[in-house]
Symmetry: C2
Subunit: 316 residues, 2 copies
DNA sequence: AACGGTATTGTTCATTTGAACGGGCGGTGT
DNA sequence: ACACCGCCCGTTCAAATGAACAATACCGTT
């Protein structure tokens, strides 16, 4: 049905009164002698007919639209895209940190439980955290420490330093992330200290995780936590990378491997149940893992660089 | 405080999600990990900072903006401006009719009480009323009939025809609008038939009135209802015209004159108390009266032509 | 380091708004 | 002419929104 000139004028005046003059629909109805609900419907119509146009100005130098596309394509709660000042891996990693912290600060307001995993990217996140004093907050490890027993630093270290920066309580897992056998793991899990911490982690409000690729020079390998042989087995089964040491293939399907039974840390199901999982990763070599992690829906927030973002949107 | 680039990006994404994707503030808050109220405030900010622009497209060939200016300048509920196809008085009058009917139809929905006054302009309104069948509606005269006793047609006639067109109940005042003396009026008012009708008129939902100028050739004068002498007296006291035979000066101040005591019809106070008084008038010679009627706030809806509208806005 | 002022945050509550439902009107076809 | 169908309207109710208030944290100053 075409709108008559008379109708249109009414629509215009009502829309102006509502959107520009700030009258309520009820007031407008009284003024023009029509019911409130009719004003509501006329406004609907005016929007539908594009007589009312609502424009949101996009900020210049930002990837807001790219982010929105990522969000809708992969069903993310939020995507954050940065433009690294260089494509060098350390630079990219270092610049992801502050962006990730921005996300973190927005949803952590002085309390709650934050789980952190491990990785070189997370190191840069820790470095970017501003000093706070949030004694009601808890930072908990999402998995055991990594590295050889005698140098079991990083896993604990990141959580510890994160807690320190926030002025929060640290809850550390005093056990390695990977142990020699299922039996060892089971006996460690019998320790309430450890199992309670893991239970806490499973119920945390926010998790911040890195996304790893099994390359020979990665810190995980260097640390000797995983043997080259095991990596080959995982790759043979389609693994493209991991979140918190849980490997998955390019479609985000978890890989079955006996190593899973030797890990002290949340599994992918548990991670998915955390309300907000922030994944931080960038750099060309991580493209496939990141895409896989998105497909598997292991994270709801992605912090990455613009090249990855562009590639993630290349083909449906 | 300047908005940082980070803030701005968040504002953008929230505004997009709200205005374009139609998410509620609560949903957005959950997605981005902030409280609902904060989303509300950020949206406020975004509107304030003009990151969100709401544009209402003005219809082409219409006087919508002129009307809006009239509405705000004179505190009207509504102004309707038409472009007569010619400046000839009969043409202007004839074309005001349909516009006035448009207003009328919008707020009368099958029931209620409509008061009508009298005048050549109202005649054209009556002619424009589409046939309806609204038996719950009442059309009542706002004042007695006009014209010499033996040709007491118009006043009654307009109300009667209006009622007929609407398929409504007519409530006519079987008395002249102006009588010879206060005494006569008082005795007529003692008749419940008459006083009840006037009481009904005073409580009507909508009134439609013309706005008159005391020119020698006006129908009022021709009808002999008012003597030329009386018109001169009224003019001498500053009268610029009337609504329902109640005269006022150029500032909308009622004129005191003994004729007021001989009128059978609502006074200006009573008219002002009617929730919606639609004044219909156009043509150059009526400019001053119309402005006066607006100043006196005797009407809340004005239907007029574009020339008058423009002149009404000339100077503050 | 203590203080006060300012800004920002969340809570509560009233208002505003839109969705679902049911009734009535007008138009249409037989 | 009558019945049927679809559209439009208002009512009711739940959801969404914004305002007022109080508490808290953060800032600069003394």
């Amino acid at each position: 049905m075409a709108i008559t000139g008379d109708q249109e004028r009414l629509l215009y005046k009502i829309a102006k009164a509502y959107y520009e003059d700030g009258f309520t629909q009820g007031q407008i109805g009284k003024r023009f002698g029509i019911s409130r609900i009719k004003v509501s419907r006329l406004l609907q119509q005016a929007r539908q007919e594009k007589l009312v146009q609502i424009t949101v100005i996009s900020p210049e130098d930002s990837h807001a639209d790219l982010e929105r596309e990522l969000e809708s394509t992969y069903g993310l709660d939020e995507a954050v895209v940065i433009s690294p000042s260089s494509a060098e891996k350390p630079v990219v990693t270092a610049e992801l940190g502050p962006a990730a912290v921005g996300c973190l600060l927005r949803c952590l307001q002085g309390d709650g439980v934050l789980s952190v995993s491990w990785g070189s990217t997370l190191l840069s996140v820790v470095d970017a955290v501003p000093v706070k004093h949030w004694p009601d907050m808890t930072v908990v490890q999402v998995m055991g420490g990594l590295g050889r027993p005698e140098a079991e630093v990083h896993g604990n270290d990141i959580a510890r330093r994160m807690a320190q920066a926030f002025g929060a309580r640290p809850r550390l897992i005093s056990a390695p992330g990977i142990v020699a056998s299922k039996m060892v793991r089971d006996s460690l899990l019998a320790d309430p200290q450890i199992s309670d911490t893991m239970a806490l982690s499973a119920k945390s409000d926010v998790a911040m995780v890195g996304i790893g690729v099994p390359v020979p020079d990665s810190v995980v390998m260097q640390a000797g936590a995983i043997l080259a042989e095991e990596v080959e087995q995982l790759k043979a089964r389609g693994a493209v990378g991991d979140v918190a040491l849980r490997f998955f293939d390019k479609d985000g399907q978890p890989i079955k491997h006996e190593i899973n039974d030797r890990i002290i840390g949340l599994d992918l199901d548990q991670i998915q149940r955390i309300p907000r999982v922030i994944g931080v990763a960038g750099g060309a070599e991580k493209f496939e893992v990141i895409r896989a992690a998105l497909r598997g829906k292991f994270i709801n927030v992605l912090v990455t660089d613009d090249r990855i973002a562009a590639r993630l949107l290349e083909k449906p």
